[in-house]
Every structure is written in C-alpha cells, then in structure tokens.
Symmetry: C2
Subunit: 345 residues, 2 copies
C-alpha cells in the first residue's frame, strides 16, 4: 500500500476553562505501516461530546475512570466515538469496505488497534450517522441511564435537563413512550418549541428566562419530581433536589456546569437527600451489560422503524469543522446529537 497522509486535530495546550477554536490545530501525518491485527479506517462520522473537555484538562479526577475518558495530551490525536469504512486490514475479522464503529480519531484516517472494541456494523438498514448517535453511545447512555439507573414506573414525573441535547432528547422520548410525565429544559425558545411540538414532551421551559429555578420547577411539577435525569449539575440539580418527591431518583449523567468551571460544585441539601430518601447515582455507559445493549438496540430500532422516536441530528461537514462543532456544545449551539461528517460515505 502506498503512503497515506491523514489530517488530524490536536489540542495546542491543555484546556482548563471554556474551549475556543483557537486552542485546536490541524496537522497532517503520514500514516505508518499497519501492524499485526491493525485495521486502517477511513473516518466518516465522529461523535462530538461534552465529556471530551474533561480529557483535555491537565488534570481531572475523571481521567482515571475508564479508558475512553483517559487524558488527551497536546499534540496527540483526539480519540472519540465514530464510524468509518475499512480501507485495509491485517485482522482476519475485518475486510476492506466493512463499515465499522468504535473508537476512532478526529482525523481523516485512523489506524485502529482492534482491542479498542471496534465493531462491524450489524445492519445497513439505517443512515450510518444513526450509529454515532441514537444507535450509538448517546442512545445507549439515554436508554441505560433512564431504565437501569432511574428505574421508572409508569406515570412517574420526569425532569430532563439539556433536554434538546444528544442524550436528553432521547431520555425524554423514552420516558414518554414508557408512560411518564416529562418536562425538559433547554436554552433557547426554538429548542423549547421543538421539545413540545416535535418530541412530545408534556412541557418544556427555557432556563435562561427563569430567575429562580426552585420555583420554576415547582411550577412545572406541582406534584413533585420522581426522576431527574441530570446532564448539567449546578443550580439546576440543587433546584431539582428541592423539588424531588420521596424516594426520588437522580441519574447523574453529565455536569456541563462544572466541566468548564471546575471550582463550581453543586451545593446539595443533604437534609433533603436524607429526609426524601433521594438516590443519586453517577454512571457511565461502559458499565451496562451486553444484555442491556441488546435490549437497547432492539427496542430502539423498533421505535425508529415505527417512527415513534424522532431522530435529532446536528451534523457539520468536513474535518475542519470539528473544533467549532465541539466549542459550540458549550454554548448550546447544537440541537440534538452533534456529529461531524468527515467524509462522504
């Protein structure tokens, strides 16, 4: 095989606060020859996720948790969830032109060491981008977080923050399909309309227009909150705790308020936690079982086929758009799952 050049992104220095596009740089490398069992993947879609900011910090307790959250150092390629097409393979299980998903790079090409859990796509029934979002990590996080961590009962009153985000929009939709009462919050009028009109949320509000989140939640949940799916932490979590019902469950999925402002912890009322017997559970999707995964895939594919789930994708085109796609997450630019399409299929 001839030598192949690949553009890729890296961070110039560690990022401590809110990320800016200027903190990233694009480089070109000539790919080395494939090692034994290596697979060369042409990247098609990469998943753009807020948690990646924690990997870009010089230090964060998050970086020791699981391999997928390990530290990204300046100059290094940025790994991420994604999907691509096999260009060359030294591994017997992968052939040229196979569509694969797993951990790839913010790059045109990735040499994947196969122990990184590369998977061949099971089906070509859906648009390939779905496997980066609704049928990928975002969908599985929403499904596992809601059903396994929150343990919903029909008619439970469910609150979702960042409800127009990649995970939040699906939590709300799963909750509605399951028979819960669902209210979401988001940061623009357009997102709020979307939640109510298109995604079937019972109600939604723009948190930027609210001055006292505790009374806002009291207004939207006059009978209290049974389940809070938390993507933001901070004041929203504090307000949710104040409005939780007895035996309420909080799935701690993300804490975007803390990612770019790490001094700003959540001031929790432990009196409420105790007397209302609230359960707060942090989780990562890597902890769910293969059974959970199969359950997620079969149910979600069925819902998509029956047009019961609305697929919200927000796709930027070209590898050059990766930094702005990422930076935009922290401004709330994205509607639904943020994806960069690196190359045409």
């Amino acid at each position: 095989m001839e030598m192949l050049n690949s553009k890729f992104f890296t961070i110039k220095t560690h990022i401590e606060g809110a990320p800016q596009e200027s903190m990233f740089e694009i480089k070109t490398q000539t790919l080395p020859p494939l090692g034994p069992n290596d697979v060369l993947v042409k990247c098609l879609y990469v998943s753009i996720d807020p948690y990646q900011i924690n990997r870009m910090k010089s230090q964060s307790s998050s970086q020791n948790s699981v391999a997928a959250a390990s530290k990204i150092t300046p100059g290094m390629t940025i790994t991420c969830g994604g999907l691509g097409r096999v260009v060359a393979s030294n591994h017997p299980d992968y052939q040229k032109n196979d569509i694969v998903h797993g951990i790839i790079n913010w790059a045109e090409y990735t040499i994947v060491k196969t122990e990184n859990m590369l998977r061949k796509l099971d089906t070509l029934e859906f648009p390939l981008s779905y496997h980066v979002g609704i049928l990928g990590t975002s969908g599985f996080t929403a499904f596992g977080g809601f059903f396994k961590i929150c343990k919903p009962k029909k008619e439970d009153k469910v609150f979702v923050s960042a409800a127009a985000g990649s995970v939040g929009n699906l939590v709300g939709q799963y909750a509605k399909l399951f028979g819960c009462f669902v209210v979401g919050c988001a940061g623009t009028k357009q997102k709020v309309e979307l939640l109510k009109e298109k995604l079937g949320f019972d109600d939604a509000f723009n948190y930027k227009e609210e001055r006292d989140l505790k009374s806002t939640l009291q207004r939207y949940f006059p009978h209290g909150i049974d389940i809070y799916f938390d993507n933001v932490g901070g004041e929203m979590l504090e307000a949710a705790v104040a409005n939780m019902n007895a035996f309420g469950r909080i799935a701690a999925c993300g804490v975007i308020s803390d990612y770019t402002n790490s001094g700003k912890h959540t001031a929790l009322s432990m009196v409420d936690v105790i007397y209302k017997r609230i359960m707060i559970q942090g989780f990562l999707l890597t902890d769910f079982s293969i059974n959970d995964y199969n359950d997620f895939m079969s149910k979600t594919m069925d819902y998509i086929r029956a047009r019961k789930l609305c697929v919200l994708e927000d796709i930027s085109c070209g590898i050059e758009s990766s930094p702005s796609a990422f930076v935009g997450l922290f401004r709330g630019d994205n509607v639904g799952k943020k994806i960069v399409q690196i190359a045409k299929e």
Copy 2:
C-alpha cells in the same frame, strides 16, 4: 384513677441555630382521663437524637417526610423514641406493668394513642436501656443503613463519621464483624482511643486536628473508600467523595453540619460522582421492612450475648437533664447512645 400530674419539656420558641438549654422549659400538666384504647405510660428511658433539632425549626423540608419527623411547636410536648411501664390501659393488648417501647414524650408520663406503634417488649433478657439504643432505633438505623443501603462486601474499605455516636459506633462494629476494613472519625482524643482500643476499628482520627480532610482521608485510605456512612455531611462528605473508589456507596444518614447551620450545604463534585459512579442514598429507618427488623434483632441480640458488640451508652439521670443532654449532642459531648433515664425501673 386519681388525677396525675406530669412534668414535661417543651421549647419556648422555634430553634433555628444551635440549641441552648435556655430554649427549653419544664412544665407540669394534669393528665386528662384516658380515652378509648389509650395507654398511660410511665416514662423510664427516652432517646436523645440530633434529628430532633429539625423538628424544632419553624420550617424544614424534613418536617413533611414521616410522622416521627413532624414539626414540634412551642408549648407542645416533645415526642421521642423511648421506653416505659404501663400504669393504666384502656387497650386490650396492654396491661398494667407491661414494659413498652415506641413514641413517648420528654415527660414523666405519656398518654399513648396506640396507633403510634407502641410495642410490648419481646424480652427482658437485656438491660431496658438497650431497647432505646442498640436494640432500638440507633441499632436498626446502623444495621439497615449499613447492610441494606451500603451493600457491603467483605474487605470493603469503610469510613464512618461521628463514629463514636449512637449510630456510627455500631456501623463500625457491624462492619468489622462483617469483615471490612474500618476507619472512623470523632471529635476528641478519648473517642478516637475508644474506637481503636475498645470497638476494634482498624484506625480512627480526630477530625478537629486535621486541616485538610481530603488529604487526611487519603492518608487513612491509601486504597480509597468503598463505603462511606455519613452522619455529618459538609466538608467531610466532600472529602469522602474525593476519596471514594469506583462504584463507591454513600449512605446519607445524618448531616449534623447542616442541622444547626442550614445555609451550609455540601459542595459536591458531581464530576467525581459521575466518573466514579458513586451512589448516594438518603434513608430513614422507617423504610426498612419487618424482615429487616427481625434480622437486625436476632443478629444483634446474638452478637450482644456473644459479647461481640460493645454497648456504648451515655445515660443522664432525671427528666431535668433532658435539655442539657440534647444540647450536648451538638457539642459532641456524648459517647455512644445518649439516653435520659426519666425514672428508676
């Protein structure tokens, strides 16, 4: 029956900060005739517990949780867990001279409405005071909180705060008997010695002598904390979260740091909660099942008979000592279970 006078304590006004003895007053009432099914109890032992301060506030979210945590208003008798002897009964299940435990008053006598879960004592094998502490609510809270909420595994590394307190000392002892590594903290040198020498804790420290609780816990738990049984909240909880291992469990039992300083919430790192998949569960002993209770009683009685549990009681004598006993809880005066003996058996 002749008219009976009974001394009782009440609060003069609602109590918002740290309680003082002057905030209580002793009164005498002439007891009214017994109604149908009423039982007149001569109070022998009353349980003195920190959570009662939440009932004495003009307002606290705690007051809506369960009947036993309902608001105490000035002038009203102060209900509490306790044990006494039946003096007269209009209820067919209770006879004169029966020893009963349940909800009584900070008073010489209590007319108990029997729907308040008065129970006849099953056994006279142990000192009566045990049924207010180790075989009462403190023991059941420790047992249920540790085994049902923390779900321990052998060799788990367990941290207990307020470890010389009524619940904490038993959590540590149960954990040692179960095969865990246990470290406790307390507020005096004497208590720390007691934990190590008499109660068999693997180690203990005086939190008042520590300047940076995060590094203190790192020193005592070089391999991290699997279970934190939290009786105090605040900075100790923050430090524990920083030192928890993946899949750590925190039983939120008490938050004495918040009871007398309700603005002071716990600044939780939700990044740690998520990436370490920490579970925080508030609980009240009223939620445990009858099965749990029977399990608690039979195991604990066996341990006491085998002298495997050390019974730590701190008993004041005479109804007049109730306010100072209570106020002392918030200064850490008590060693083990604080009880007031109202009358000789």
